[in-house]
């Protein structure tokens, strides 16, 4: 049997920023795919390019940022070079986005009800009262207490986590086939987090929705993702099935990442940290981008850039494998 066609296919994506000091390459030749019904977790250093990758997929890179190379396909059809109007229709209807910053997705001047109803009605034929009922249903689904009492509140009257859930409700409004979720549960307590995760998983199972889930929370990754991509300095360091990446991390960066997580019941004065900082985009070293911080570095790492190659169950870009 032929493998199913991936819902999302990203090939050799490059994203750059022209600046006064030269061109910055923020995402440098990354490739991955997501199958229908699959959750791809994306983790990695702050500033590694996770949000930019998500923004490129939904066609919302902020200028001067631009796609400098590569292709993005939804269901086999290229979407990285579509005119703005076409892409706008795909966005929301076929691809739902949950941005890292819930406030920028909500208009502070409009009531929550108005924002939900407008979004629902742009994607579906519904009367205002039907759309309002659907809005209520969505707020219930994301766990807003007494949703009917709060529907007509303004965003600033909601707590951080409540606003986050409104944004999730907006993204789900049109039953999209692909959801780009950038830190969707970051400001949420563990119980609501569990509820949102269950909701996302149910969408994957029942509707074959695919999810790109960017998060810093490894616990969320462990229980939600089918596969995980680990990003560092605009590249993919490691990508593979969730168990392989979490339990048998190969790349030294993934190792360091897993080692920095505080553990309840194990008091320590200092958490293990990876010393140093991710290189600035203007100063990415030759060879492997992780080499200045890597405890395993050897001469080849300083001169040659490693590409992703199979190691264990995963693909790893490190000369040790």
């Amino acid at each position: 049997m032929a493998a199913p066609q991936p819902l999302l296919q990203v090939d050799n994506l490059r994203i750059e920023f022209p600046t006064r000091r030269g061109t910055l390459l923020a995402v440098d030749d990354i490739s991955f795919h997501i199958d229908p019904g699959e959750v791809l977790g994306v983790v990695g250093e702050s500033g590694a390019g996770k949000s930019l990758t998500g923004a490129a997929i939904i066609g919302l890179l902020d200028p001067p940022g631009r796609i400098a190379g590569g292709q993005i396909r939804l269901d086999g059809r290229r979407i990285d070079n579509l005119p703005y109007e076409q892409m706008r229709r795909i966005r929301g209807k076929e691809i739902g986005a949950i941005f890292q910053d819930p406030l920028t997705s909500l208009n502070p001047l409009y009531k929550i009800s108005r924002q939900l109803v407008e979004t629902i009605r742009t994607h579906a034929e519904m009367s205002p009262s039907q759309a309002r009922a659907r809005a209520l249903e969505l707020l219930d689904a994301v766990g807003i207490p007494a949703a009917s009492d709060r529907l007509d509140a303004y965003p600033h009257e909601f707590s951080g986590g409540m606003r986050q859930r409104v944004v999730i409700a907006l993204a789900l409004a049109a039953n999209p086939r692909l959801i780009i979720a950038d830190e969707p549960t970051t400001a949420l307590d563990v119980s609501i987090q569990a509820q949102i995760i269950a909701l996302l998983k149910q969408l994957c199972r029942d509707h074959g929705t695919a999810v790109m889930l960017v998060t810093h929370d490894m616990g969320v990754i462990a229980e939600t993702a089918d596969r995980v991509a680990v990003m560092y300095a605009g590249r993919i360091a490691e990508i593979g099935p969730v168990a392989a990446v979490i339990k048998q991390a190969r790349h030294p960066y993934t190792h360091g990442l897993m080692g920095s997580i505080p553990a309840i019941g194990h008091p320590v004065e200092q958490l293990t940290q990876i010393d140093g900082a991710m290189p600035r985009l203007t100063e990415i070293p030759k060879g492997c981008a992780f080499n200045p911080r890597c405890p395993e570095v050897f001469d080849k790492c300083l001169s040659h850039r490693p590409d992703l190659r199979p190691a264990g169950g995963s693909d790893v870009s490190c000369w040790l494998f």
Binding site: S46, A153, H216, L257, P262, Q270
Partner: protein, 353 residues
């Protein structure tokens, strides 16, 4: 913490005047919001005025050099407590005292300024709290300039460079605008800004939730080092209980605007007593179990505008009885702190049930 935070119920009138003041004491703090429908709707639809008790009678104290964390469900009032403490919201009731000085006794902004300078806040939302039109250098230098802590351009430059390096950014990043940074990098800018005026007391609302775990480890290590070396006092808010475990001396568990449990951190994590705390700790995502299905807390999230009678947790509590439905439990002393639960107080609920 000690039981100082619960003095109102343990020793309602006795003040230990000989004891030195805690860095911060919050006593009976209340903050209500009017969330009534517009006047016209109230009249035409006969709808009543509505009040949301975001914070309803909360007391705690933080000793100098210690960290108290607030945890609890989204919307339970953590940020509202934080905003009252730093003066962004005016309390509807109760008092907030810094080193024994009640803010309410200082009428004008000018009178409060010397105290305010010594406390800073790192906001939950780094986007909303950084002015998009300012360069990062000016954002970080702003408190230094506002409080006239340093004079002369070169001294300010040196200080900002030092702060940028401290949070893992480079001095040259000062030339950039906030939108040129990723979410986590922006959060580091807001941490640098909060540290700029050499505060002694920091309110940190989800300071690391936008950061990957390796940068998080660096920031938490930095915060602990600053605490050790400079004796900083922290009020810490986070949903990540492993971070709370690592950082805290004591922990307040909030539910619907009230404290359900206030304990020394080791005691709380070793032996949570309140039924809500127990459920909270059971719901922590687990790295060791791939593909686990966590059960969200059962039952409806209560409506804060119309909270349940008696113990506001009773509709979701497996141990609730008639008394819980009618009478509100008050905080009562237990080993290492205090708990507001009838079942615990009556001994119906043994610690390890």
């Amino acid at each position: 913490m000690s039981l100082a935070g619960c003095s109102r119920m343990t020793s309602a009138t006795i003040r230990h005047d000989e004891a030195p003041h805690p860095k911060l004491r919050v006593d009976g703090l209340k903050r209500y919001f009017d969330v009534s429908p517009p006047w016209l709707n109230r009249v035409t639809e006969g709808r009543p005025r509505q009040t949301l008790k975001a914070v309803d009678d909360i007391s705690f104290a933080i000793e100098p050099g210690k960290t108290l964390s607030l945890v609890g469900e989204s919307g339970c009032g953590k940020s509202t407590v934080a905003r009252c403490i730093v003066g962004l919201y005016r309390p509807s009731g109760g008092s907030i005292a810094f080193e024994g000085v009640d803010f309410a006794s200082l009428r004008s902004r000018a009178a409060q300024a010397p105290l305010r300078r010594r406390m800073q806040m790192i906001f939950q939302d780094p986007y909303a709290s950084l002015n998009p039109r300012w360069r990062v250098f000016d954002i970080i230098a702003e408190p230094v300039r506002a409080f006239r802590l340093l004079r002369g351009k070169s001294e300010i430059v040196r200080r900002v460079d030092e702060l940028l390096r401290l949070v893992g950014l480079a001095p040259r990043d000062g030339e950039k605008y906030p939108h040129e940074f990723s979410g986590g990098q922006r959060q580091r800018v807001s941490i640098a800004r909060a540290l700029a005026s050499n505060p002694e007391f920091l309110v940190c609302d989800e300071p690391t939730s936008a950061l990957d775990v390796s940068v998080q480890a660096q920031i938490l290590n930095l915060m602990k080092a600053l605490q050790r070396e400079l004796g900083l006092t922290y009020l810490f808010i986070s949903h990540d209980l492993s971070v709370v475990y690592h950082m805290s001396d004591s922990v307040g568990v909030m539910y619907l605007g009230r404290l359900a449990e206030l304990r020394d951190a080791p005691a709380l994590f070793a032996q949570p007593l309140h039924p809500y705390t127990r459920l909270l700790l059971e719901t922590i995502p687990d790295l060791d179990v791939i593909g686990r299905r966590r059960e969200p807390l059962a039952g409806e999230v209560p409506n804060p505008i119309d909270p349940p009678s008696g113990c506001s947790f009773h509709p979701r509590c497996p141990f609730a009885n008639e008394r819980c439905r009618s009478q509100r439990p008050e905080l009562a002393p237990v080993p290492g702190g205090a708990v507001a639960c009838h079942a615990v107080a009556e001994g119906r609920l043994a610690p390890d049930d």
